[in-house]
Amino acid sequence: MDSNFWQHSILEPLRRFVDQAFGFLLNNFLAMLVVLLAGVAAAYLVRLGVTIVLRLFGFDRFCERHGMIGALRTAGFERSPTVAAARLAYWLVMFVFLILSLAALNVAPMNDMVSRLFVFLPQVVAAIVILVLGYLAGTFLHRATLLAAVNAGVPRARALGTAVQILVVLFTVAVALEQVGIGRSVVLATFSVAFGSVGLAAALAFGYAARDLARTVLERQLAQSDREGLGEISHL
């Protein structure tokens, strides 16, 4: 009697628990490890491939031309843009495989979290792409504005160029946040108020406070001769 009790109440459940734990360890946990190792290998290959392709297409020179090196240094990254992009690709792949490895564990609460992460990941990637493109556009427009203002003799040309760049970057950040669904209504409201205020301030400044300057600038634009105020010189 005593041995049966011992068998049924203690040993059997213990044996079942050990079987389950062992099974979990053997199957799921091992699967998770395999997926992780595969992820490390895949991430390494992706990093190598990205490095080769970007070097082939002169990515570093492209970034240097568009002023991205400075931005990377400001962010504390001293290595080349190719290395930065390769590392980003490496960790993105690692992240994907990490999520897959969690799925391999087959634990019910984790499965739900994993599927949500998978839905979120493309939006994060899209937001990163938007930020990069927005930064490039901001840099380009900053320089275009600066050059146009200097060649037109507009005072404070550098401030004007910087203002344009800031506006573009702010717009890009707003779009990126919208993309990942963070604070949608707050971002939209903030953006609308900020842009509206800037526009109103500029209209007041240019149209009222600086109306004489505005008149001079417009008259020069509409003048039939000596548009740049340089004299009657014929340049060609």
């Binding site: 002169g58 020179r61 240097e64 031309r65 568009h66 380009f140 320089r143 275009a144 600066l146 050059l147 146009a148 203002a149 200097v150 060649n151 003799g153 040309a157 550098r158 003048a223 039939q224 001769s225 548009r227 740049e228 105020g229 340089l230 004299g231 009657e232 010189i233 014929s234 340049h235 060609l236």
Partner: protein, 424 residues
């Protein structure tokens, strides 16, 4: 048979009527009703006087004038030529007026003229501006004769100009063309020029007509191609060039970026040729050179210096991406000088032009931005040139320009070094 794409259909019928021509004179136009009548009369008189036994045609290539310019071309009375003619004409002078198709600009107008020259098989041709007030019948002989009887393919104009006219030509285009391609064409950007039918066909074969060449870059493009492709080039002295008030739509930024951009762009395609040129030589010059008074020109030196200083203050980060540190340091020092001490040495200017050329080639930034960044530097150099020569006559100023050209040629190895420096 040559195709007639980019020509208006009605033109083909007109050309059937004309048939074949020996001499063709093209006049590009856009709203030049006030001046084109005089030009047509001078051209007609020139053809009647110098080529009475040749089949001649005048072609007006118009950009969509709204003031009746083409009608004036067709209807201009040539008057009584007995005071000019030794004998009566035995061949008619046909007149054709047509609109051009393609990118708006002088280049597209020229392309139409070249095409007509090809279709009528003209052997000697000329193009003159439609707003000329100083054109005489002799200009036709001076532009056509070197082609017809001297074996020339391209006749560049040579004008008497005010010492401060043509500053882009004098400070960049002429010295660069001379240093790069070895020929001393004094005014490589002239609106009036002569060319052979063979050269017209060569130009037509290019695919540059849909680019900025079709706007302000066409003149330097033609001169460069004629020299670099081995055609016989000369220049003819035409006297003073007086034309109507400058085009109010003419904008320095657009003019500068397109002309200098064309010079830089063409360097890429002709690297093997200009890399081998070691010295420049004169081109044959026709026409009798005489002194002529030219209209005075007002120059706002203070504003130019102001724009240079603003460039030095605001654009230095951009300049550092384009030029070397030494050059940028020198430019900063120039910007800090007092108003009475402003000077822009020739050697510094040549370094600027060459470093911009190399950076343009290596695409260190968007090319439009690079060329715009050069404008304050050009204005600074022009201001310094004006200050240096304010008390000088025409000959002394030519001497200063000659020294600049010698500096360009002497520093060519520097250009080659910068050009080849950033091979990827």
């Amino acid at each position: 048979m040559a195709t007639t794409e980019f020509l208006r259909p009605e033109l083909a019928r007109e050309l059937d009527r004309v048939g074949r021509a020996d001499v063709l004179v093209g006049i590009p136009s856009y709203n030049n009703a006030r001046t084109i009548g005089h030009v047509v009369k001078a051209v007609s008189a020139g053809l009647a006087k110098y080529y009475p036994d040749r089949a001649c045609v005048i072609v007006n290539s118009d950009g969509g004038s709204t003031d009746g310019t083409p009608a004036i071309v067709l209807g201009a009375e040539t008057g009584d030529h007995r005071t000019l003619l030794v004998e009566h004409r035995s061949q008619p002078v046909h007149r054709v007026a047509t609109g051009y198709l393609g990118v708006p600009g002088k280049g597209s107008a020229f392309r139409t003229i070249f095409k007509v020259a090809e279709l009528v098989d003209a052997s000697a041709c000329a193009v003159v501006d439609s707003d000329l007030r100083s054109i005489t019948p002799e200009w036709i002989e001076l532009l056509i004769e070197p082609v017809l009887r001297q074996g020339m393919d391209f006749v560049a104009p040579l004008y008497s100009r005010h010492k401060y006219d043509g500053t882009i030509t004098n400070s960049i285009v002429y010295p660069m063309t001379r240093a790069l391609y070895g020929r001393r064409v004094r005014q490589p950007i002239g609106g009036d020029f002569g060319f052979s039918g063979a050269l017209a066909k060569h130009f037509l074969a290019s695919d540059a007509w849909e680019t900025d060449v079709a706007r302000y870059g066409i003149d330097i493009w033609m001169t460069t191609r004629a020299i670099a492709d081995g055609y016989n080039v000369c220049q003819s002295y035409l006297g003073a060039k007086i034309h109507d008030t400058k085009d109010p739509g003419a904008d320095l930024t657009a003019m500068f970026t397109q002309v200098v951009g064309t010079v830089y762009e063409m360097m890429g395609g002709y690297r093997r040729i200009w890399g081998e040129v070691k010295a420049s030589t004169d081109v044959p010059t026709f026409g009798f050179r005489y002194t002529v008074g030219v209209e005075s020109v007002a120059v706002n030196v203070e504003r130019m210096i102001g724009m240079y200083r603003q460039g030095a203050a605001d654009l230095m980060p951009v300049w550092r991406q384009i030029m070397g540190e030494d050059t940028c340091r020198t430019l900063a020092e120039i910007g800090e000088r007092g108003p009475g001490e402003f000077a822009f040495p020739a050697e510094t200017w040549v370094r600027v032009v060459y470093e911009f050329a190399a950076s343009h080639h290596h695409r260190v930034m968007a090319r439009e931005h690079l060329l715009r960044a050069m404008i304050p530097l050009y204005l600074g150099r022009t201001a310094a040139f004006v200050r240096q020569t304010v008390a000088s006559g025409g000959e002394e100023v030519e001497g200063v320009i000659e020294e600049l050209c010698v500096t360009y040629e002497a520093m060519k190895p520097y250009l080659l070094e910068r050009w080849d420096q950033r091979r990827s």
